[in-house]
């Protein structure tokens, strides 16, 4: 019988570190290709259609980047939180809370010129996302309530709250009966950055935020504290680093990023709040952060990658008559393969023959 065992590498070779995510993606694509064959289509042609659908024209490219915008922001939310080992699974709820704040303040309650209105909405959205997370952080810090459970469950509460508001008090009377919020005033709408496409200023802002987060995490005392608390909270606290304050800041930053994703979707893409504002962008952010190994700059690339799969899969589905759910399968397989590839990066696999044990 052939057995194997993992042995930790003293040092991982550089070529392996760089190559491993690409190999992982390749393996995921091959595995998903088998499913495409099962669905009765030619995998090469299907993937061709997927790439064309995501990058083939100005419009599709813009659509991919527009779709990447909220995913990059929720990816940043997960990256910041996971670095400090604060498991915020609630980006979906924080996104919707940011969207609620945008609707509340941005549909006429506050009127400012555009240059002020847009930053104002982003600040409001970030505060809303952060505030939603605040009670959960306090529960964790004071009573050790597991944040995985609380952040996850609060997602459903927030989505139901949005549903209640859109079906009831916040329903736009001009919407012909559709459950949607009032339109964001013109001053608050994020301008297009590519004419005749849906790509809006939110994409540029999300890139800017990714660089800012990278900057904060790598150059400032706050970033240093977040890193030390995440890597070894006990040692950090023995060196006088305030754990409580650091985790609080992490949560506010993380919730803030997800809240801003709600702003870009409400004020950028649609112009108003709907119940299907986010088809799971909050959860996609976790996959994006994992793919990027929690690196904020990497989140930009993995966010665009994920968005291209989702956008391209729609085109593939239409052209090849295969289910769009393949997009979810490809994403899930990619995340699994990346996680597995990390094992290979850090460990060597030793095979050995073992005699039958008795």
């Amino acid at each position: 019988m052939l057995k194997f065992r993992l042995e930790e590498r003293a040092k991982s070779p550089y070529w392996l570190i760089i190559l491993s995510p690409f190999i992982a993606i390749l393996v995921a694509i091959i595995l998903a290709g088998m499913l495409i064959i099962l669905a009765g289509a030619n995998p090469f042609e299907s993937y061709y259609q997927l790439i064309i659908g995501a990058f083939g024209s100005k419009n599709s490219f813009a659509e991919t980047l527009a779709r990447a915008t909220p995913i990059i922001l929720t990816g940043l939310a997960a990256s910041i939180a996971f670095r400090a080992k604060f498991w915020n699974i609630g980006a979906e709820g924080q996104l919707y809370f940011g969207a609620l704040a945008t609707t509340f303040f941005g549909t006429g309650l506050v009127v400012l010129p555009s240059v002020l209105m847009i930053p104002f909405l982003f600040v409001i959205g970030a505060l809303a996302g952060g505030l939603l997370l605040l009670p959960l952080v306090l529960l964790k810090l004071y009573y050790k309530v597991d944040e995985v459970v609380t952040t996850l469950l609060l997602n459903f509460v927030v989505v139901l709250l949005v549903s209640y508001l859109l079906e009831g008090p916040w329903k736009d009377p001009m919407s012909l009966g559709w459950p949607q919020g009032k339109s964001v005033i013109d001053e608050g709408v994020l301008p297009q950055v590519l004419s005749k496409t849906r790509l809006h200023l939110g994409f540029i802002i999300s890139i800017g935020l990714a660089f800012s987060v990278w900057f904060i995490l790598s150059k400032t005392v706050i970033g240093y504290r977040i890193k030390s608390v995440g890597l070894n909270a006990s040692a950090a606290s023995h060196a006088g680093i305030p754990i409580f304050k650091t985790v609080l800041i992490v949560a506010i930053l993380s919730g803030g990023m997800a809240g801003m994703a709600g702003v870009t979707e409400t004020a950028g893409l649609k112009g108003y709040l709907t119940l299907d504002l986010s088809p799971g962008f909050g959860y996609a952010g976790i996959a994006v952060a994992m793919l990027a190994n929690l690196n904020p700059i990497g989140v930009i690339f993995s966010g665009v990658f994920l968005a291209s799969i989702y956008v391209g899969a729609d085109a593939m589905s239409r052209a090849m008559n295969v289910p769009t759910y393949l997009a979810d399968v490809i994403v899930a397989l990619t995340v699994l393969c990346i996680l597995l590839s990390l094992v290979f990066v850090h460990y060597k696999i030793l095979f050995f023959k073992a005699k039958k044990d008795d």
Partner: protein, 501 residues
């Protein structure tokens, strides 16, 4: 005497690093072979190869003339090699009997053959002088009793060669003596023992032969009878060791006192009405078997825990807000006993660890919160130079440092702050003789600078040579300190076992 185990030219590489390089030795029947070496010398790798956890790159091992198949623990056990790890591998919620027999059963068997097992265990227990109650829950046992179970577990599998990894780490001197007499008993009945330890005195007391490993190679072998302590210590480190000499200085004014301090919450060991006075320039040693409240005491003294009753008084300030940071600002330095999990952030670079206590100092950050890298680097280099932290670069990840260098980095980080009070928990545990000497020297120098030091240690030799006064902890109580020169190892040992409480 016949040869039981023969190890020939074992080599094991991790990448370019030789963990073991052409190590050869023999274990004869009826002998205790001690393997000495500092952390990272290759002791554990070597034992893992013998016990089947690792496959070596080259070399041969034969047991009773048969070549051992590598990488197969079951095979090692079947041949008669048993190992007791430093950290026990017992299931606390099972009885002694169940623990001993459980690993040997297929997970698909529905019942345990308890009756025959019980007879065999009781026989072994009697034969080797290892008294146990087979029906007691393991959770209710003391450390030394658990160790007995671990040893019985290997004997139950008919082991012929017993490997003990740091067996005395958590024992009182009396328990250590009794373990050694058990080992002597085993030798008489035909077993052989490999003893891995860094406590030289114990090795000299119990072993027949000593092998010293350094940097993965075997650097010396000697009969214990003809061994000299100093020489072996130097063989382990590879250079001359200068042990620090204590010079007593007159006691300064009182800096800290604990008044009737108790702690009785479930998240830490209990304390019951501890009183303590600490003076500048004093080293107060605290002896005790691990787990009798020393950790709680240290945490209360450093602001990590708030006493449930009683008060802690800093002489110049009076009472104070309880937090690690505010205690640090008052001049308290805390060396936690587990330097890897509570001291250093292994995945951060050396410079990042070196300035971790200083993040509020405007010298290392500007008003916008950016880290001043130049000053941080300068300070880190300065620290590593002053306190002899050996590294390749301050940008190196800290986990790659040896235990001694980690401790020098942590202690240096505190000493840079010129602390008034140092709480040192097991500061030299697990370190090699060279590092022990440097850490002790640094602490004694701090004392000369009028720091008050609380030295919590399980190493009685260390306590006796370093402290001005010694107190003993037992079940959360602290005895009155006595002057070190008026006491001795035996009477402290008795107190550690509960005498006088």
């Amino acid at each position: 005497m016949t040869t039981l185990l023969k190890v020939e030219k074992i080599t094991k590489k991790f990448g370019d690093f030789y963990a073991n390089k052409e190590i050869s030795f023999e274990v004869k029947k009826n002998e205790v072979l001690a393997i000495l070496g500092e952390n990272g010398a290759g002791k554990t790798t070597l034992m893992n190869i013998l016990f089947g956890h690792y496959t070596p790159d080259a070399g041969n091992v034969s047991f009773e003339g048969n070549t051992i198949e590598f990488g197969n623990t079951n095979n090692a056990i079947k041949l008669g090699i048993g190992m007791v790890h430093q950290h026990f591998t017992l299931a606390e919620n099972l009885t002694v009997l169940e623990n001993i027999i459980i690993g040997r059963q297929s997970i698909f068997s529905l019942s345990l053959p308890k009756r025959q097992a019980r007879i065999k265990i009781l026989e072994l227990s009697k034969k080797f002088g290892l008294p146990i109650d087979p029906d007691e829950l393991v959770a209710n046992l003391s450390v030394s009793e658990k160790q007995r179970i671990e040893i019985l577990k290997t004997l139950f599998l008919d082991c012929k060669l017993l490997i003990l990894d740091e067996p005395t780490a958590a024992l009182t001197p009396q328990e250590t003596d009794s373990l050694f007499s058990t080992i002597r008993n085993m030798i008489k009945t035909g077993l052989s023992v490999i003893l891995i330890s860094h406590k030289l005195n114990e090795i000299l007391a119990v072993s027949d032969r000593i092998i010293v490993l350094r940097n993965g190679s075997s650097v010396g072998e000697t009969d214990t009878n003809s061994a000299e302590r100093q020489k072996i210590a130097e063989m382990i480190v590879g250079k001359k060791i200068e042990y620090p000499q204590k010079t007593k200085i007159p006691r300064k004014s009182k800096v800290l006192s604990l008044l009737d301090v108790s702690y009785n919450k479930a998240d830490a060991q209990r304390l019951s009405s501890v009183n303590l006075n600490l003076y500048g320039g004093q080293i107060l040693g605290i002896a005790g078997v691990a787990g009798n409240g020393q950790t709680t005491l240290a945490k209360i003294l450093s602001g990590h825990l708030k006493a449930t009753q009683g008060s802690i008084v800093f002489e110049e300030v009076g009472s104070v807000h309880i937090s690690p940071k505010s205690f640090m600002d008052l001049g308290v330095a805390y060396i936690p006993e587990d330097r890897n999990s509570d001291g250093i952030v292994g995945d951060m670079e050396i410079w990042e660890n070196a300035i971790m206590t200083e993040m509020d100092d405007s010298f290392f950050r500007n008003s916008l919160g950016f880290i001043n890298k130049k000053n941080s680097f300068d300070r880190s280099r300065n620290l590593c130079e002053t306190y002899d932290v050996r590294m390749q670069s301050i940008r190196q990840r800290s986990r790659l440092l040896s235990g001694g260098n980690v401790q020098k980095l942590l202690l240096g980080r505190w000493l840079m702050r010129e602390p008034k009070i140092i709480i040192a928990c097991q500061p030299t545990r697990g370190l090699d003789e060279g590092a022990i000497a440097s850490i002790q020297k640094l602490l004694l120098e701090a004392q000369q600078n009028n720091s008050a030091i609380i030295l919590i240690s399980e190493d009685l030799d260390e306590l006796l040579s370093m402290s001005d006064d010694i107190a003993v902890m037992y079940k959360g109580m602290l005895s009155n300190p006595i002057e070190t020169r008026t006491t001795n190892k035996l009477s402290i040992g008795l107190q550690m076992a509960g005498d006088g409480f």
